[in-house]
């Protein structure tokens, strides 16, 4: 019988955790309101409220053991939020790179820009496709770009083996027209026909020697850094130069890897795609930049989220047992008090609710603390990675988004829920006479 109740409780806990995890924040507000109404309006609810009041007011006297719950949960939530903020920042950077009304055209079956090849003729055909926006002079806003990679020494490099890969994008004047968010921060744009390049803000932070006016060596050629640009998305992890010159330096002739096209609107994409994919002169894949860059981040964000969840789950197990320990001790020290309450007519439910609320309150404080610490340390923290199918280091910033904090708080509440339930049940089940006799 005892085993069966134990099993039943365990199943209830599992179900409520699953329910809780999928619950949106509105659901939680409804539950909180219902609980408040119950405490305000019914007799049992009022009992529960007064018992909770006693428990919470004595928290100060049990500062040490209460702190165990708060800090334990703060640790879990802090690590969790930091890892999720990393995934979020990575995905945000790539997602903001694209929009629904610009299209990217690559040679069919190309995994990334670097592996694509498009001839000069194809570029002309793509510019004539329906749905492409025209500029004031009536020219289509299409940018043919040649993406390659280059090795550069890393910042703080100790030896010549400390180099990293950066994406080098050969562009023309159209690239600046197409990307309205691209701004020159210092210096000027590279001049056509010269070995000059502009460095993205992210690339500049990652690699050494990318200050305006300096010269860098790519392979056997010397290039002058003419300026620094920012776009606020993943393009600023790159360095840009004149497409003709990049083509010459990398022996690519007049071919390009990618064509970006500004469309007249998001709804112009389908006809644009249909026209290009059915054109017998071309063999290309067409996507919106939004779709393309979101897809690039998918795998990586998923991996970080899974790692974060596994690490968080193991830490959560530790924290649950820490909370259980503290709450069992708290219930034990208050055994006589609880028994007295029950002797004068308080029922079991208010006692259970009171202890659960107390634990969840502590958990909430812990969760908020952990989230705050993670936000203070990691929000805006800059990291870079080569992973995720790109051929150059991608610089991104950790982003402690509200949704990430909310996930952290949910974990905190779930830990508090389990940590409080068993001690609460014990307190309610303890025979009154035994508890009163305990010293």
């Amino acid at each position: 019988m005892k085993f069966l109740t134990g099993l039943a409780t365990f199943l209830v806990v599992l179900l409520s955790i699953v329910f809780f995890v999928v619950l949106p924040w509105q659901g939680l507000v409804v539950i909180a309101l219902a609980l408040a109404a119950w405490m305000g309006l019914t007799r049992r609810g009022q009992q529960a409220a007064s018992v909770t009041g006693v428990g919470v007011s004595t928290l100060g006297q049990r500062l040490g053991s209460s702190a165990v719950i708060v800090i334990g949960i703060a640790g879990v939530v802090g690590v969790l939020v930091a890892l999720f903020a990393m995934a979020q920042g990575y995905a945000d950077t790539l997602r903001s790179t694209g929009s629904a009304d610009t299209a990217i055209v690559l040679r069919g079956a190309s995994a990334s820009e670097v592996s694509s090849v498009l001839s000069h003729d194809s570029v002309l055909v793509i510019g004539q496709a329906p749905g492409v926006a025209k500029d004031a002079e009536g020219k289509p806003i299409v940018s043919a770009e040649l993406v390659v990679a280059a090795n550069l020494p890393l910042k703080n490099a100790k030896s010549s083996d400390d180099f990293g890969s950066v994406q080098l994008r050969g562009i023309g004047e159209e690239a600046w027209k197409l990307r309205k968010n691209a701004k020159i921060l210092a210096g000027r744009k590279p001049e056509p026909g010269k070995y000059e390049l502009v460095a993205g803000k992210g690339a500049q932070a990652n690699f050494s020697g990318l200050e305006p006016g300096k010269e860098i060596k790519l392979g056997s050629q010397l290039w002058t850094v003419s300026g620094v640009f920012a776009t606020g998305d993943s393009f600023e992890s790159e360095i840009w130069a004149d497409a003709q010159i990049v083509g010459a330096a990398y022996r690519r002739g007049s071919s390009v890897t990618t064509v970006f096209a500004r469309l007249t609107g998001a709804d112009a994409f389908e006809p644009f795609k249909a026209a290009l994919t059915s054109d017998p002169r071309l063999q290309v894949d067409v996507d919106t930049t939004l779709g393309y860059f979101s897809k690039q981040s998918e795998g990586m964000s998923k991996i970080i989220t899974i790692i974060g969840s596994v690490v968080g789950a193991i830490m959560a197990i530790g924290a649950v047992f820490g909370a259980l320990n503290t709450m069992f001790a708290a219930v034990a020290t208050r055994a006589r008090e609880i028994a007295t309450l029950r002797a004068i007519g308080f029922r079991g439910l208010p006692v259970v609710v009171a202890i659960m609320l107390e634990t969840m309150l502590l958990a909430l404080i812990g969760g908020a603390l952990g989230g705050l610490i993670a936000w203070l340390i990691f929000n805006g923290y800059t990291a870079s990675t080569l992973a995720g199918g790109s051929t150059g280091a991608l610089t991104f910033q950790f982003h402690v988004a509200p949704s990430v904090l909310w996930t952290g708080l949910k974990w905190a509440l779930a830990i508090g829920f389990i940590g409080g339930l068993y001690p609460a049940l014990r307190a309610a089940r303890l025979p009154v006479t035994t508890a009163l006799r305990e010293s």
């Binding site: 165990v68 990679a149 830490m315 197990i317 047992f321 990675t385 280091a393």
Partner: protein
Amino acid sequence: MKYLHLIWAALFRRKTRTILTLVSITAAFLLFGLLDAVRVSFEQAGQSVNGAERLQTQSRLSFIQTLPSALESRIAAVDGVKDVAYANWFGGAYQDPHNQIFTFAVSPNYLDVYPEVEVDPAQRKAWDATQNGILAGEALIKKYGWKIGDKIPLQSQIFPNKEGSKNWNFDLLGVMKSKDGKAFQSQMIILHWKNFDETTPYNRGQVGWYISRVKDVNDADRVAKAIDALSANSDHETKTMTEQAVMANWIKQSVNISLIVTSIMGAVFFTLLLLTGNTMMQAVRERTSELAVLKTIGFSNTSVLGMVLAESVLLLLLGGIIGLALVSVLSPAISQGSGGVLNLPRVGGTTWVLGVALALAIGLVIGGLPALRAMRLNIVDALAGR
């Protein structure tokens, strides 16, 4: 040692509390074992004895840039080079573009440069003789349930074939194995470079990178410089590094693993310190009168101090060893169960040593304060309950 049963009894005086604390400690060390094993396996990537004698020559400009195939005979002529192989990136995926598989188009002698990769001699012979043949790693064959003789369709995300299609078809002729699956070839497919070069219109006799073995490992630096000197000031300058350095460079660019592991473990152990520290304080406070009795019957101050310290160290060691043992048992089981999809690293000796040392250190720190308090205990006050 003679007090062990006494310490043990004190530890399990309150069973629930000790067991709950033990589970917390176990969880912390479980996480430590997992993360540290990951860190160690990242650090040791490519650091085999065979890896040290292999040099990798790539384009100095970028790893995507190819090199002329004429360089092969010139590298082979460099003093100190034993043999030279070469390979190209193929960019294969199986069935779904997301199922990416490391696929290299390689020279006929590629496997000779990797003596740790074991291929059945009959299978090797069949592969050598079949233009369209491939060899696949043991882990891949298990993962996708392939059999020798199967036709394997692969999508190349870089190179179309003659018809302009990304879909290539190959005959699977053999398995690449290695002792305890350590060589990266057990996750890989190789095809003939010649077949690749003739089938795709985009390669035109180019080579991705050269792998050369040196005769003397200590001579590797000089040989690397000599190889790079071959193409200095040409339009295809090269960068030659040991396989080990290439791997380390790649990992460094991808993920700062040690920073992540250190910060997570920092948070975990800080939390653990407070959690268990509080438990130990509580345990000693509860036993004040018992400790006074011990002192009354003649236990010295230092032995009381030692006993409390030993108790907390014992608690941490128990939890730590259980946690590390769990990872050691679980990670091969998970790797096995997932059929090579999830490859969790093994918990090595360094992780164990580090783990046990950490348990000892944390135990001493946690036990310190309660132990001092127990040592300074005044018998009369303690017995009187003051």
